[in-house]
């Protein structure tokens, strides 16, 4: 019999359809309760991301279709999602889809404490997912979805998207 976890892990992200929710790192826990209920814990990426409602619905739908009658999807906010949770296979799939995967966000990426801003040329290097060139530039910090920024490759001249470190 198919386990609920396998079904849930195979559900794909509505905005990055090459990635499963497991690869995206938003699936925290899938528990089959003794009474047959399936409880899925899901972490939102960005607070306002409209994909969250879709993910919930997709999870419920796939689990129902796999024979799990009662499904409960729970939001987990703490600790907040980070792009560091995107798996290695998720990163490979992003790159293969022409989307530059995020670099390490790291625990100190956003230090807690006094508000400070890093201005100037401290931009991180993002390699072009098409030609591999490091000669790239950011066109816009905000892209077609909350999680991506827009970049351009100076070598192959192609635009590409980059999943922002968060």
């Amino acid at each position: 019999m198919v386990r609920a976890r396998e079904v849930a892990e195979a559900v794909t992200d509505p905005e990055l359809p090459d990635l499963t929710l497991a690869e995206l790192g938003v699936l925290r826990e899938v528990v089959e309760q003794p009474d047959g209920r399936v409880v899925v814990s899901l972490t939102p990426t960005y607070t306002g991301c409209p994909a969250l409602g879709m993910m919930r619905a997709d999870l419920e739908h796939r689990l129902h279709a796999a024979g799990f009658g009662r499904v409960e999807v729970r939001a987990v906010l703490d600790p907040p999602w980070t792009t560091d949770w995107i798996t290695e296979s998720g990163r490979r799939k992003l790159a293969a889809a022409g989307i530059a995967p995020p670099g390490p966000a790291g625990p100190g990426a956003r230090r807690m404490g006094p508000v400070e801003v890093r201005l100037g040329a401290t931009r991180r290097m993002v390699a072009c997912p098409r030609c591999g060139s490091d000669s790239t530039e950011e066109v816009s910090r905000f892209g077609a979805t909350a999680c991506k920024s827009l970049w351009r490759c100076r070598t192959c001249r192609e635009p590409f998207e980059h999943v922002k470190e968060i």
Partner: protein, 292 residues
């Protein structure tokens, strides 16, 4: 899979929540442990969350007004993205408010079912949009202040509010960075851009004082909320750093007294909020049964 019509195809088994992308939102905090911790006054927590939610909703609306009006397409997407983040924060905070005061009101009920007079946002958020420079000055001040506020709120006595704040911190850091980049670019730009950035800051900065002035709802939320007087120092330090990088006079900022008309946190608002709320609620009022 074969379907008789397109609607059936996208609804699959009459799963109505899936009828269109991004619709059919459920409670955004569904499944979270939403009990109010011992020793925390639920009503005070609710009032505090409501004020933070109103800040985010009203600021989000002003940013959305730039859509179709921004100087370039990339900027339009940036402002829409920032507005969306704030809208998401507002939804979580409204939902938390409804849990904390025991009324179980939804985010939609708070956003669409209240009069302008019951909003508790700071006045900075409701100011009508000016030119692009002025609105970047506002976004810089708003995001710098809210970032400092949410950072401090990660230690809130309410674990749900702390978790919402921790998520928001990451988003606000991007917002602040975006506004700061523009302030530097315009301030240290051409004669014209510099003049407009200077004018924009002069319009906006008098509204800073209110951000550091405690209101009743701050005082009642001790432990849950943050004493706004503690935010002055980190916010001013960040502004000084950015304005210096923008070659603008960082010392010329005159701390204006708190607005004589009162605090937005106490329900004293400018006329501008009425128009904003009317537009925001127009669809919900025209068709109260509508869902989206």
């Amino acid at each position: 899979m074969a379907f008789d019509n397109a609607y059936e195809a996208i609804t699959e088994d009459n799963d109505d929540v899936r009828w269109a992308f991004g619709t059919g939102f459920a409670d955004p905090l569904a499944g979270l442990d939403t009990a109010v911790p011992d020793g925390v006054d639920g009503a005070a927590l609710a009032a505090y969350c409501l004020a933070l939610a109103d800040d985010a909703l009203v600021m989000s609306h002003r940013l959305q007004e730039w859509v179709t009006n921004a100087p370039e397409l990339e900027e339009e997407m940036a402002l829409a993205n920032i507005a969306l983040d704030l809208l998401g924060q507002a939804r979580l905070l409204y939902t938390r408010a409804g849990q904390a005061d025991g009324t179980a009101r939804t985010d939609d009920e708070y956003a669409f079912g209240r009069s302008a007079a019951s909003f508790r946002n700071v006045r900075l958020a409701e100011l009508p949009n000016g030119d692009f420079a002025q609105d970047m000055a506002r976004l810089l001040l708003f995001s710098t202040w809210r970032l400092a506020l949410l950072e401090a709120l990660t230690a809130s006595a309410d674990p749900v509010l702390a978790a919402i704040a921790a998520k928001g911190v990451k988003e606000l850091a991007y917002h602040q960075d975006h506004a700061a980049q523009w302030v530097v670019r315009l301030g240290d730009g051409t004669e014209l851009s510099r003049a407009r950035m200077t004018r924009g800051l002069a319009e906006i900065l008098p509204y800073a004082e209110e951000l550091f002035t405690p209101a009743d709802l701050d005082r009642h939320a001790a432990g849950v909320g943050v004493d706004p007087t503690t935010l002055r120092s980190p916010v001013e330090a960040a502004l000084t750093q950015i304005l210096t990088a923008a070659t603008l006079d960082a010392t010329a900022r005159q701390p204006a007294p708190a607005p004589e008309a009162g605090l937005g946190r106490d329900g004293s608002h400018s006329e501008a909020l009425g128009g904003l709320v009317a537009e925001l609620q127009s669809v919900a009022r025209a068709d109260p049964e509508a869902v989206w």
